[in-house]
């Protein structure tokens, strides 16, 4: 209850700061989250970076951008499919040069029309190294990126030569390589269009961002909260079904959760771990817990011959089968993780390339078969296996101990599996990226966009940026190349899955589990859902 009192005070602070509602009465109409009739009040954290679309790569800023902006495409929150939003059509004949045509009628909330130039300017701004945008690598596939964003030194140009405006409704994009599923990446917020005001009055824009989404910023106080109201003139198909959203900054999620339970808040995303025990009692079916675009794996150091030599794939597969994922996700993670069944994430959806059967038996717990596989293949290298991870966050120590116990129980050869805890994430990353580890190590991967390509290519393609196990397989590379050249999205995804099947045979990494996103909401809300980035889909929420 202390939390509740405290939070009420915090809510008052919001109200005072915004000079909108009196706070003495405690409840301000509406009967619920303090946001007034039809307004959803939701927990928030201060965004890490200024709210520029190409600079926001975390959830808190993402929440706002999802309400303020609509891009060429938008990921369907349910199926994960990238549907055309502003784009009328995206044509290509060679999977490398794309012609993008825009729909009519789109405008920013300051009545400026959304044109091809709005996109090209925004992308050039996002790519330019001088603007220090976090998401600039998203533009790195475009021809001319190296000129505006050289690895070192001064940029040679201000704009990327691969972007050409044909007319106000059409522009063309030239990519450096064939990348058939590139249009599917355009649902990511970094590709949002920007109004002219963004460039002419940048500071003013940051204080009160103007976009082309279903909401308008009513007021924004850094460190306290943001009020968003429905934009009545919104031309898009996905109009907001509520009258607004009040985002309130909480520094402690536990406080937000207590506020939700006591009726002072409508929506909390990311339910704190300490509350998981009570969440079913407190919220019943008003608790959402679903896989996000995050997968945790144990990657083998295949640069080490003792792990990569012929026949070791069976040992790697055996270790995978000795891990009781169901029990670990249930006991250690209290079902905030979902046992992995492939190398992608269920958030992709079946159409996006997720498959619950792809890994098959290799990801199923079968201690007897695991023992036999490992013994027949000559046993663990040196008779032992050491798991490495940082242990400063995320109960990594607990799950590694549990994985080791599971392996030791399955093999019955004494403590052959041990844990090598690394004190800090930075130190762990150092060891990982300098290829010094001699046993399997934790690797977590959060996809940048809901695309199977993003789960495979950066991690397992020969020489790829995050291929920390140095896995290299010509067949895998070939299938990925083919998939990237395939102009039909569905066929491309099948190709990627063929490539993924090579991972089943080779087991360069063991899929452990998908990380879940979670949210809890008040009784007066309906139609609450999380999208692939674990951000609530605010415009669909209905308030009763």
């Amino acid at each position: 209850m202390r939390g509740a009192t405290h939070a009420k005070w915090a809510a008052c602070a919001v109200a005072v700061a915004l000079a909108a509602t009196a706070c003495g009465g405690g409840s301000d109409g509406g009967g619920g989250g303090g946001g007034g009739a039809g307004v959803v009040s939701s927990s928030w954290g201060d965004p890490q970076n200024p709210l520029e679309p190409a600079n926001t790569n975390e959830v808190q800023g993402g929440k706002v951008l999802d309400m303020l902006f609509r891009g060429l495409k938008r990921y369907d929150p349910k199926t994960g499919a990238a549907l055309n939003m502003i784009a009328d059509k995206i044509d290509t004949t060679d999977s490398q040069n794309f012609t993008i045509t825009l729909k009519d009628g789109w405008k920013f909330s300051n009545d400026e029309p959304v044109t091809a130039q709005s996109f090209v300017d925004a992308w050039n701004y996002g790519a330019d190294v001088r603007n220090k945008q976090n998401n600039s690598p998203f533009f790195s596939d475009i021809v001319g990126y190296a000129d505006v964003h050289p690895a070192s030194g001064e940029p040679k140009a201000k704009t990327m030569s691969g972007l050409v405006v044909k007319d106000p409704k059409t522009f063309t994009v030239a990519l450096k390589n064939k990348f058939s599923t590139w249009p599917e990446t355009l649902g990511y917020q970094a590709f949002s269009p920007l109004p002219k005001a963004f460039f002419t009055d940048h500071a003013g824009w940051l204080n009160k961002p103007v976009g082309n989404g279903p909401y308008l910023v009513d007021s924004y106080t850094k460190g306290t909260g943001m009020k968003l109201r429905t934009w009545s003139g919104y031309p898009g198909p996905d109009k907001a079904l509520n009258s607004g959203v009040d985002l309130k900054v909480y520094t402690d999620n536990n406080t937000a959760y207590t506020d939700l339970i006591s009726g002072n808040l409508d929506l909390v995303d990311d339910v704190p771990a300490q509350q998981l025990k009570n969440v079913k009692n407190d919220l019943g079916d008003r608790y959402i817990n679903q896989p996000a675009l995050i997968i945790q794996t144990l990657t083998f150091p295949l640069y080490d011959p003792q792990w990569s030599k012929e026949g070791m794939e069976n040992v790697r597969r055996g270790i995978s089968m000795a891990i009781n994922r169901d029990e670990i996700t249930k006991q250690i993670f209290r079902e905030t993780r979902t046992p992995a069944k492939d190398w992608t994430s269920p958030a992709l959806g079946q159409k996006g390339g997720f498959s619950a059967t792809l890994c098959g038996d290799a990801c199923k717990y079968d201690p007897a078969a695991a023992k036999k596989l490992i013994q027949d293949a000559g046993g663990l290298p040196g008779g032992k296996v050491t798991l490495t991870s940082n242990v400063d966050t995320g109960s990594h120590r607990d799950w590694m101990d549990a994985v080791c116990n599971s392996i030791n129980n399955a093999l019955g050869e004494g403590p052959v599996c041990t844990v090598n805890p690394v004190g800090t994430f930075a130190d762990f990353r150092n060891q990982q990226s300098s290829f010094k580890l001699t046993g399997p190590f934790r690797s977590g991967w959060q996809a940048d966009y809901p695309l199977i390509q993003n789960f495979l290519q950066p991690l397992y393609y020969t020489g790829a940026s995050s291929n920390y196990g140095k896995f290299s397989n010509p067949d895998f590379d070939k299938l990925v190349d083919e998939a990237n050249q395939e102009s039909d999205a569905a066929k491309a995804i099948t190709k990627f899955q063929d490539a993924e099947k090579i991972l089943v045979q080779q087991m360069p990494s063991i899929p452990l589990w998908y990380q879940n996103g979670s949210a809890g909401y008040a009784e007066r809300l309906t139609d609450v859902a999380l999208n692939q980035f674990s951000v609530p889909v605010y415009n669909e929420i209905k308030v009763s």
Binding site: Q331, I332, V416, V419
Partner: protein, 309 residues
């Protein structure tokens, strides 16, 4: 403190044994026989000593008290995770499905090792240097005293954290580190005790009879100065055990796969609302152990301090 001893024996060195034997006949008691007599009737000492004895047996032969072993790689089954105490498993299970009773019993060993080894080292180092400083005096005393003050200025836990973060964590390194930081206290007590004793008549007498420095120190000064050292040593034994638990709790003391109550408490503290028993049992075991040693130390102090009688 020394009058009876001088009266009872020409050589103070023989006081301890002779006084003890004579006592029953003529009630002429020495400090030590009085103390033992006193302790025998002190319930605080008896309870404490009984607990300490139990603890020593448990840490010497834990397998007498439990069938399982925490080093058995197949002992923990995740299905049992966080199960509450039952008739078969008195203390319940921890997060990994390991039996908390087994782990609590086996963890006693590291605590007792740290307690005893540290106290021994502290007494030997502090005692020897204190004796040297007190007896020789002059420049040696000055140097040793200043040197001691350097160590004295470092808080036990803070210094322990600093040094342990650079050492591999096990019961022996923890003991060593605690001893390095703990000896100045004993040094000071020993030194002042020696200074108190060295001008007493029996020392002067011994010297007059031609006894050498070494002989006087070991046979006359040491036996009469050691009582306060023993008292402080006994009390601080409990302190060292809790310091080990604190270091292990912080993750820089004893390291897994070794076990320690501090580690167990640390593991359990994350979810103690959810499963309080996992935290409770090692914490209670630690408290009882520290209490037992402090009770014994307290009783010994009372017995050896005639002023309190």
């Amino acid at each position: 403190m020394t009058d009876t001893q001088i009266a009872g024996a020409p050589s103070a060195g023989a006081v301890v044994s002779k006084g003890g034997r004579k006592k029953k006949k003529d009630r002429e008691a020495s400090l030590w026989s009085d103390a033992i007599d006193d302790l025998r009737r002190n319930p605080v000492f008896l309870i404490g000593a009984f607990l300490v004895l139990c603890l020593l047996v448990i840490s010497a032969v834990p397998q007498w008290f439990t069938d399982g072993s925490p080093f058995d790689s197949t002992a923990c089954v995740l299905q049992d995770s966080l199960k509450t105490p039952s008739a078969e498993h008195w203390f319940g299970y921890d997060i990994q499905g390991c039996d908390v009773y087994t782990r609590t019993v086996w963890a006693a060993r590291n605590s007792v090792i740290v307690g005893i080894v540290t106290t021994t080292l502290v007494t030997v180092i502090g005692g020897a240097l204190g004796l040297l400083a007190g007896w020789t005096g002059g420049i040696v005393d000055s140097i040793l005293s200043r040197f001691t003050e350097i160590f004295f200025a470092i808080p036990l836990l803070l210094g322990g954290m600093l040094i342990m973060s650079a050492l591999p964590g096990n019961a022996w390194t923890v003991s060593l580190v605690l001893a390095i930081l703990g000896w100045p206290q004993i040094f000071r007590i020993m030194r002042s005790s020696v200074l108190q004793n060295k001008n007493n008549d029996y020392v002067v007498a011994a010297r007059a009879l031609g006894a050498g420095t070494l002989r006087i120190t070991l046979r006359h000064i040491l036996p009469n100065a050691i009582a306060p050292v023993i008292v402080v040593g006994a009390i601080s034994l409990g302190v060292y055990i809790s310091a080990e638990a604190a270091l292990s709790y912080l993750g820089i003391g004893v390291q897994p796969p070794e076990i320690s109550w501090g580690l167990m408490v640390s593991d359990a503290s994350v979810r103690w609302l959810q499963a309080p028993h996992v935290l409770l049992f090692p914490a209670v075991a630690l408290s009882i152990t520290v209490l037992a040693f402090i009770m014994v130390g307290d009783a010994v102090r009372d017995a050896l301090d005639p002023k309190l009688r």
